[in-house]
Each structure stands twice: as C-alpha cells, then as structure tokens.
Subunit: 322 residues, 5 copies
C-alpha cells in the first residue's frame, strides 16, 4: 500500500508508527489519534481502511473517483473533506486533489498527484505538541492552511505578468501572441476562482457550523484560513478586471486607430485624385485643345495641380485627418 506515513499521537506527541491494517484502540478522551497519509491509493487500499475506521461508503466512493469540488460532508460523527492544491508551472496552474477522512481518533489524508508534499507539514506540526494535542481538528486546520498558503505565490506571479502586460498596452498595440497569452492567463484565473470559491465555503463551514470532531476553540483558526482564501479571491477578481480592462482598452485604441487611418486614407485618396484627373484631361487626344499649344500650358497645369493639392492638404490638416 502507498502509505506515506501512519503514526499514533498521544497528547500531541508521536508515540509510534503503526500498520494501517492494525486495529488501534484510542481512549474516548480524545487524547490519542492516528494520522495516516496515503498517496494514490488503490480502491482496495481504501476499502480496507473503510472497514477499519468505519468510513462512509459514499465518502470512500468519492475518494476512489476523485475530481471532487472542494466540500465538507458530514457522516454521523465523521467528516469527509475534499480540497485542491495548486501550483503554477509555466503559465498553467496544475491542481492536485486532497481527500481527508476525519474521525474523533483518526485523520486519513489521501493525495492524488504529487504537487506539494505533506511530510514537511507533519514535521512542523510535530515540533508544536501544544497545538497537536488539541486533536484532529488542528491537524485538519494545518492541512487546509498549508494548501491555502500555496495559493498566494500563484496569484502574485500572475499579477506581476498581467500588470507588466498592461503597461505595455498603454505604450503599444497588442500583438496576436500577447492576445493569446492574456486569454490563456484569464482562463487560468477563471478556473482558479472556481476552486477558490468552494475552498472558502469549506473554511467558512468550519467557522459557522458545529461540526463533529472539531473543537469550537479551533474556529478562529478556520476563520483565518477563510480570510486568506478571501484575500486570494479578491486579488483574482481584481486581476480579472485588469485583464478585461486591457482588452477593452486595446479594443478602444485599435478602433480609434482604424478610424484615424480611414480618415488619412480618405484624405490622401482625395489629394492624389487631383493630378490623375487633371493629367487625364490633358492626355486626351482631341485635335482642338487650345491649352495644349500654349507656351506655358504645361508649367501652368503643374502649378494648378500643386496649388490644389496643397490646399487640400492644408484643409485636411485643419480637420485633423492628416
């Protein structure tokens, strides 16, 4: 079985490693609990734990299927919590899935995907027995806090990129590649927000409702997790507005530019039509065209052409078409 760690804790201190198939009897005073960490377990692994720890079949089914929206399910005196880890890899956010079974004397974490490890977190918690002795609720909080703390650098990186892109828009016009990149960043943001909203709801549920296995004194801690989710959410929303602004902005500038060029085109077309039309007239082959035999007919026509063109040019300048 893909067991990362399986440890019995008493009064916040590590007692010993256990075997997942072992039947551990914890006293009713919640002074002891078992924390099992699994990585990509098979359905068989989970069914085995189901019998051992009385996990609800629906929760086990969800843990086997995966692809759950973050949520908290209450099954009598047990909880089933699902959450999403996130990591930014080259403009794409990769998601991992964490499924947590919580009972009064056990907490089982199931991880799908390798995005972020928990062993460091376990080490840190074992350094603070005063927290750990408060039971499974604090372990659950620590995991959610750890997951949510991983969201901030992602949004900060996207923020930097987007703001840089925004500054460039003010000075330049957006190229095809930049449009594609912004669209892709926006999609990542929209997807991320779809994870953030239920994650916030998960944290808020621990703050608002009386849930089994969770010490009421732990509420401010879940409230703190909720705060951090809300902060990331606020940043994500702000970023979406920036991106939409960039589009609208670039749209407006592009439109203004097309308008200006249309006017320029119209002006030059008018100016250049003058020599063409006049020269066309004097290119006709009529026998009786007196101007053709004038001594200064040619320079006169040239002067007329230049004068009309200059007048037109000056007129269009005044209209700000040129």
């Amino acid at each position: 079985m893909s067991v990362v760690a399986a440890v019995l804790y008493r009064d916040g201190k590590r007692v010993r490693d256990i075997d997942v198939t072992e039947k551990v009897h914890c006293p009713d005073d919640h002074s002891e609990f078992v924390w099992i960490g699994l990585l990509d377990p098979t359905p068989q692994d989970l069914r085995l734990l189901q019998d051992q720890y009385g996990l609800h079949p629906l929760a086990v089914e969800d843990a086997i299927n995966g692809k759950q929206i973050p949520k908290v399910d209450v099954y009598r005196d047990q909880l089933f919590v699902t959450a999403r880890t996130a990591e930014l890899v080259e403009d794409k956010i990769h998601y991992g899935e964490i499924l947590i079974f919580v009972g009064h004397s056990h907490i089982i974490t199931v991880r799908h995907g390798h995005e972020r490890e928990f062993s460091k977190l376990r080490g840190e918690l074992e350094q603070k027995p005063s927290m750990l002795q408060n039971g499974v609720g604090y372990v659950l909080h620590a995991i959610l806090d750890y997951i949510v703390d991983g969201y901030l650098p992602i949004i900060e990186t996207i923020e930097e990129d987007t703001l840089a892109m925004e500054r460039r828009t003010v000075d330049n016009f957006l190229g095809r590649d930049e449009i594609i990149r912004i669209f892709s960043l926006r999609r990542e943001l929209i997807r991320f927000q779809r994870v953030l909203i239920p994650m916030g709801e998960v944290a808020a549920k621990f703050v608002r409702s009386e849930l089994p296995c969770i010490d009421p004194d732990a509420r401010p801690y879940f409230s703190d997790v909720n705060d951090h989710v809300r902060r990331v959410q606020a940043m994500a929303e702000a970023l979406r507005e920036v991106i939409n602004s960039v589009f609208e902005f670039s749209n407006l500038l592009e439109q203004q530019r097309t308008g200006a060029i249309t006017r320029q085109l119209a002006a030059w077309a008018a100016i250049l039509a003058v020599p063409t039309a006049i020269a066309g007239i004097y290119g006709m082959n009529f026998r009786y065209m007196p101007e053709l035999s004038w001594r200064y007919g040619y320079p006169l026509v040239l002067i007329v052409i230049v004068v009309i063109c200059v007048l037109l040019f000056w007129r269009f300048r005044t209209l700000k078409w040129l």
Copy 2:
C-alpha cells in the same frame, strides 16, 4: 396498460409481481412496498392508479401533461417528484421526462420518451437487498442517482469538442460553419443548465427538508446526488465561459486582422498612386514639355518613380503597416 414492471418487495427482497389494478395491503412498519414502472401511460391508466394509491389530482394532472420543470411537490404524506433524463445524439441533447409518485408503501415511476431504461437499475437494486430494505426513499435516490450519472458523459463529450474547437481558433480564423456549430453547442449548454439548476434544487430539498417517506439517514445519499449535479453544473459553466472566450477571442483577432488589412490597403494604394500620377503627367499632350524630348527623360522618370515607391515602402514597413 403500459406497465413495464410492478413488483411487491418485503425486507428488500422481491416477493411477487402484482397487478396494477390489485389492491395490495402493506403493513404500517414500512417493511413492504410496491414499485410500479410505467412507460407512456394514458390518462386513464393514471386515473386508475390515482384511486388505488390516493395520488393527488394535481400530481396526476402534471403526470398527464408532462413538460414539467424538475421539482418536488409534497401532498400531505406523499411526494411527487419530476426529473429529466438526458442523452447526447449528434450535438443535440435529447431530454426524457420521469415523474415519480412516492408514498410510504408505493413508488410509481412514469417515463415519457425512451431515452434510458430503468430495468437495468431495478436489477442492480434487487442485488442489494440491504439497501432496498430501507424502503422507497432508497429507490427514489437510486433513480435520481441513475439519472444524474447520465449527465456526466454528455458534458464530457461537449467539453472535448469545445476544447478542440478552441485550439483551432488559436491557430486559425473561425469559418461560418464553425461559428454555427459553436452557437448550437452553446444553446445546448444553456438548455442543459436550465435542467441542471432545478435538478440540483430537487436533490438539495431532500438534504435540507424533512420530507414524508424519506428516512433521514438517506440524506447523505441525496447530498451525493446534489454533489454530482453541482460538478456537472461547474463543468457546464466553465464550458460556457470557454465558448464565450472563443467568440471574444475570434472577434478580437478578426478586428485586429481587419485593422492590419486596412493599413496594408492604405499603404499599397499610396505606393501605386505614384506611378499613376507621374505617368499621367507625362502622358499629357502639351506641345511644350521640355522633359519629353530629353535623351534620358524616360529612364529618369522611371528611376524617380521607383525611388519614391521604395521610400514609401520602407516608410510603411517602419510603421508596421506592411
């Protein structure tokens, strides 16, 4: 009568087939119930059952008329539930309608349209007497779960098609046929969401409210159905955003392209106006045009034309118009 099956169950086990016109007396301890399945029944069929099982006239009226939005109606100690099955056939989602009358000792399912059969479901349930002995609430859950499980493959197929289309947009411009297809997929999605929202409300109602005939222990099961609806809903929403993105995106690229072509058009018009205008001048028939008799007048003019054109070309290149 279009009876697909009509069976009496006791303690989760099949006792015998019954006749729908037969008056079955079930004990008050809910250990027995009757499950009747009808396909496209006539109003007469339904009125007959109305008398037999004390169905509410408004519920029967709805079952006759069909075209109901998914809902749960409570009539004293009976329930009337309507739901929608869905199936994807060549880019179109076909909907079927299921109407369910639930009493303490009976569950009557009425099916309009042939989209998905329930006989397989009945077979599966009869394999699990431990579930079936919990009564009509579990049968109802199994039906809703079965319906909702049919939603996922639909949304996954549309997702695949849409994402493929999106990838093509990045590389190409959308043709008329692709625009029509995306519009049609979007409409199917919008319609599907209109079914998903009340279906989720139906499931949520079983989780939140104390309803007659439903064992409170069955709540996590309905919560699970709700979860699955919510997941499909989340996917549908995400897809709509992708489709909107594809349009906006294709719009922006088209606009940028039109802008670029307008500039190119303006540039070439300016460049080509040069030989036309100059040649026009020297095509005039004035008697006294000294340049015409120069030995190298012609090549000189050609050189002047080429030089001006090249300068203009270079200038437009710099402006990124060409």
Copy 3:
C-alpha cells in the same frame, strides 16, 4: 352599475342572484359566500361596495386607479389581489387588469379591459360544487389558474416565430425589417417577464404565508399556479437568450462578411492597379522610349500585365482573400 354577475352560493351551489346594493347576511361557518363580477366600474360603484363589504379604502383607491403591479395586500381579515391577464394580438401582448377583493363571505372581481371573460369560468366552477363549497379561496385559485393558463399560448406563439427567425439567420443575413421585428418581440418578452415575476410572487405568497380567507388545504393548488408561472417564465428566459443569440450571431456573421469583403476589395484593387500603372507608363509621351518602337512591345506588355495579374490572383487565392 356594470355588474356582470352577482350570485349567492351555499355549500358550493348557486342559491340566487343578488342585488349588489342588497345587504346579504352569511353565517359564520363559511358555508355561504357571495361572488360579484364587475366590468369597468365607476368610482361610485366601488365606494358603494366599500361600505357594504367593509373594503379597505387603500384597496378601493387602487381598484379605481388601476395600473397596479400584481400583488397581494392583507387588510386585517380581508385580502386584495391584483393580477394581469394577457393576450397576443399581432406581435403585441395586450394586458388586462383584474382586481379581486376577498373576504370570508365575499369575493368581488373587478375587470378593466375586455381581454378574457370570466363567465365561462363561473359556469365551469358551478359544475363542480365539491370544489366551490370549499369557499372563496378556491374561487380565487380558479381565477388565478385561469389567468395563468392564458399565458402559455402566448409564449408558445412567440417561441415558434422566434425559432423560425433563428433558422433563417443561419441561412441568410438579417434585413432591416427582421431586425425591427425581433427587437419588437424582445420588448414584448421583457414586458411580459415584468408581469410574470410578480404574478409568481402572488402565487408563492399563497403557498408560503398563512393568509386570511385561504384554507391551508388550498396551498398545493396555488403551488400549482406558481409552477405554471415558473414554466412560462423559464420559456420566456430561454427565448430571450435565443433572441440575444440571434443578434450576436448575426453580428458576428456580418462582421466576418465585412472582413471578407474588405480583403476582396483590397485584392482586386491591387490586381487592377497593375494594368493601370503599366499602361500609364507606356502612355507617356517621351520622345526616347525604346520599347515603344519594338515590334512585339505591345503584346509583350500585355503578357507581362496578364502574368502579374494572374500571379497576384493566385497569391490572394492562397491567402483566402479571394
């Protein structure tokens, strides 16, 4: 006075016609009630009934002024209900107004406009004394049900027209007349939705709140009315989305078409500029232009022109501009 009918009912059966100025004493057990139907009454008519039946002055004021949004007002032990009938006449929905005063022993319906008559409804109800004997609440339900049943054919007619128009959009471009018609249909829909929403709230209020004069057993009946309103609402919303889709769609196709034509225009302009420019050159009157005296100068130039034009044409074909 514009009295359409004024009848005393006992135990669901018609007793006798009454005079509206007559003081009718009904027993307290709700076994008797008076149902008065008025058409376009004058303020004087209403003030007379106000004294007779203890109607609240604010309700009477509303009945005189008309133009009420559908609503339910509770005045001590009486109700005042306003509703809207609707009828489709040549692409326009005409609205009528119904104002209903309900007391324990009286129901007075005031109708403004002739859109749909109630006498047929009264006749039908008198055929079902078992319903009518339940009192004024059932008469009120029957009226609301009758009004709401009139909404469905309207939305179905608009739906048919809109879907037909949509199909034409896929094959053609929208003309000015079609744009005007769709805009007008959309406005009718928006206005209709403004009536549907408060009509649904009226029905919902009877389902949710304990209201005077209304038997709690009548709730499923009002819930049924609410369902029908919701169904029409769902159809109206779906239609608005179809109409918006038609616009967006026609917009996108128009834009694509303009883009395509701009490219075609640019391509032909470039191709046709070639003969013009080259012919212009050889139309110059320089004395020393060696090509002019070549034996095959003319066919050569023609060949050059054709070759360049064909090359350009082939190039634009490749770019899909032509």
Copy 4:
C-alpha cells in the same frame, strides 16, 4: 428662525400656533402633538430644537450636513427619516431633501431647497381630523406619500420622450444631438433609480419592522407608499431597457448600413476600374498596336467596356451588393 409653521394638534384638530422655543407639554396618551415645519434652518436653529425635543446629536448632525441617502434611523424612542423630493426641469431632475424628526408628541420636518411645498399638504390633512388624530405616524405617512406621488409625473414625461425617440429610430438613423440627449436622459434615470431604491427601503422598513411612534394599523398605508415607489421603479427599469434597446438597435442598423455601403463601394470601384484599365491599354504609345488602326476599333472597345460593366453591374445586383 425659518419656521414655516409650528402648530399644536389635539385629537386631530388644530389647537394653536406655538413658538418653537416654547416648551409644550403633551399628555402621555398621544392625543396631542406638535408639528413644526422648517425651511433651510441654520445649525443654531437645529441645536435649539435638539435641546427642546431631545433629538439625537447624530440625527441633528445629518440634518445640518444634508446630502443624505434616504434612510430611517432609530434613536431609542425617536425616529429620524430622510427622503428626497424630485422635480423635472427641462430634461433634468432636480432633487430636494426632506429630513424628519419623529417623537411620540412631535414631528419636525426640515426642508432643503424649494422644490415642492408642504403647506398645501398641511391644509389637506387638517381637513381630515379623523386621520390626523391617529398621531405623528399618519403625518409621516402623508409626507412620504406626498413626496412619492411627485415621482410619477417625472417618469411619465421621460417615458413619453423616450418612446417618441424610439419610434424615430425605427424610421431614421440617430444624429449626434439625439445620441447626446438619450445619454443624458439615461443618466437622469440612473440617478433617479438611486433615489427610488432607498426610498422603497424606507417605506418597506415601516411595513416590516415594529418602529417607535408608528401605530401598527398604519402599516398598510406605508405598504401603499412602497407600492407606488415600486411602480415608478418598474417604469424606470423598463425605460432603461428601452434606451439600451435604442442604442443596440441603432448600433446594429448603423453597422448593417456601413456593411451595405462597403459592398456598394467595392462594386462601383470594380465596375469603374474596367474603362480605366482598358482605356489605359489603348492609350499606350506603342508603334505596333494593330487594333489602333482598325476601322471599328474604337466603337468595338466602347462596346466591350459597356458589356463588361453591364455584366459586372448585373452580377453585383444578384449578390445584392447594389
């Protein structure tokens, strides 16, 4: 002091004018109250009344500062209500501010701006002692009703103008002045809605909450005020949709027109390029151009030109470009 009126009422009848600095002792049975009307009072005036009638300092501060959003503040057993009067002057809505201090035995109205006078209202109320004897709550209702009754003519005038403008759009294209006027009307509407929403909340608060100084029997009266606000709101919303429709509509027609003109332009450019190109060819000065010396060369070329132009014209007609 800018006292418009200050009167003591007993049992709904005017007793005598009082001096605002006078200490009036009213009995506890609410049979007497003082109604003071002020116009643009100075801070000193208000501070004086504050001591006399025990007004809350925050309410007095608001009355001095003005520019309050409509609201109801409860200070122990007193109320402080702020409202907005409105008047239409040449396409602009002018707002006035009314601030009302309500205690069991006093009602003080402070008016900023001269938009609509209350003396007429006081006169009318004094004609109905049966209402006035119910106390300050009815005076408050009368004032709010009077203010809200002033909203309807405003929205009706804007409605008329907008619908006239809409009809013109269907027949014509919008000019610059009309666009400016519609924009300005829309802004007035948006601002008006910002006043209507909190005004409705003020009325609703009197309907829903048990407030000091307000007789529960007065609730239907405030509900009636709320109804009238809601009706004006519904009209304002409908108007905004009409205006947005006018823009969208005019936008679509303008776009269609630009598309049509682009096509026409392209067609004529193509047609006129034919004589220019062919004539250019035969304007070349090659020595050996056999056609030039044909007897019927010239009429032949003219015929060729005309035929090609007619064919092109006919082709573009078929395409509906011309």
Copy 5:
C-alpha cells in the same frame, strides 16, 4: 519601540503616559483603559504586547503580515479590527493600513504607512471626556469615523475630474491620453470600491451583532459610520456608470463618424472616377475616333464631365452622404 503614544485614561480623562512594557491593572468596572498607538512596529514589539495584553496569536500574525482586507475578528472577549485609510495623490489613491486590538481595558492601534496621523484625533477626543469615558468602543468608533471621513474628499475630487472629462466628450472626440487617464481613474475607483465594501461590512457588523467590548448604546454611532461609507459607495458606483457612459458614448460617436467618413469617401471616389474614366477613353490612340476631330469635342467633353459630377454631387447631398 515605535510608540507614538501610550496613555492611561480614567473616566474619560488622561491620567498619565505609561510604558508599553509596564503591566497596568485596570479595575473591572471599565472606568479605566489604556490607549497605545504604534507606527510600523517590528514583530518583536507586537509579540511583547501579545504577552502583556493577551492578544490572540492569529491577530498578531495578521498585524505582522499586514495586507489585510478590512474585517472584524472576535477572539473570546477581545476584538481585532483591520481597516484601510486612503489618500489621493496625483490621480492615484494611496492606501494605509490600520490594525486595532480591542480589549475591555485596552485599545492598541497599529499603523502601517504614514498617510494620515491619529494624534490630532487623540487630541480632539481628549477634549470630549463625556464621550471618552464611555470606553474603548467610542475610541474605536472615533478611529473608524476618522478614517471614513477621509474617503469623501477623494471621491469628490475624482468626481470633479470625471464630470469635466465627460463634458469634453460631448464636444470633442477622446484622444489617446484622455482614454488612458479615464482607464486609470476607473481602475482607482474599482480598487477603492474593493476597500469600501468590506469597510461597510465592518461598520455594519458593529451595528448588527452583539460584540465584546462594545457598548450597545454605541450602535447608532457605528450606524452613522456605515451611512457615510454607503454614501461614498453610492458616489463611486455613480462615477463608474458615468465613466462607462463616457466610453460607450465616445464609442458610438466614433462609430457614427467612421460611418459618415466611409460614406463621404465612397461619394468622392465615385465623383472623381468620372473625369478619370472619360478622359481615359479620349486618351486612347485609335486612328478612327470621330469625336477627336470635332471642333467643339473638347469643351463638350469638359461640359459632360462637369454635368455628371454635379449631378452625382447633388445626389449624394440628398442622401446626406456629403
């Protein structure tokens, strides 16, 4: 330590400056409290106060990290409040952060950034012992009121600028710099609204919930703060609508102008094509062109050209293209 001030108050009067490391014992009757003001404290400073005043570790962590969304956290009998000050510097709003720890006998304010000082506020409060003697709740109110009072001038300045810009739009077309400035103002507004919403929630929480350390009589004061936030919010929303209007407006006018210029361009192109085409015809070198030898051929052609051009000009005038 960066202590700005640390003072012990008794019955609303300043007793003496204290040392932050000093253990001050206040009686349980809330007659005394300590008010400490810190500027940019180090984590060490805060940890020291944490031990002294029993601050919750999560609150201290937030005070160290900063960047909090405005909020109220309840930790047993203490409060932790975060808020944002704002200042407008050259079209940009600069934000400062205030973090406030409130206990029954202490209030500790932590300021990050120098935007607005509190010492003036402390001076003002010390002038009003009648308010100050009510305890820490009134100090907290005064701080929030002070912060919120700083919002109004910001929004008023932006309002003035925006309305000026709007007026210019009506008379002119927007230039690139103005578009950039409006976009930047809009972003500042959006960001500001993101601060206003949670600030309003903070104030509303004090009005609605029973919070530790806060005297229920202080509620109207927090309600007043909430009112002021709502007023600024209403102005911000109105401004955003104005800005959106300016864009839409400028968009519509630009589009109308492009349409008009397209029509003008098309008209002039048609008019100027006439002399070019006709002159081209008579510039052909056919031997047999009878018109060429007519005595008045040339002036006749000139007249024909002028007549056609004038007719076309007149036609386009009628169509309002010119």
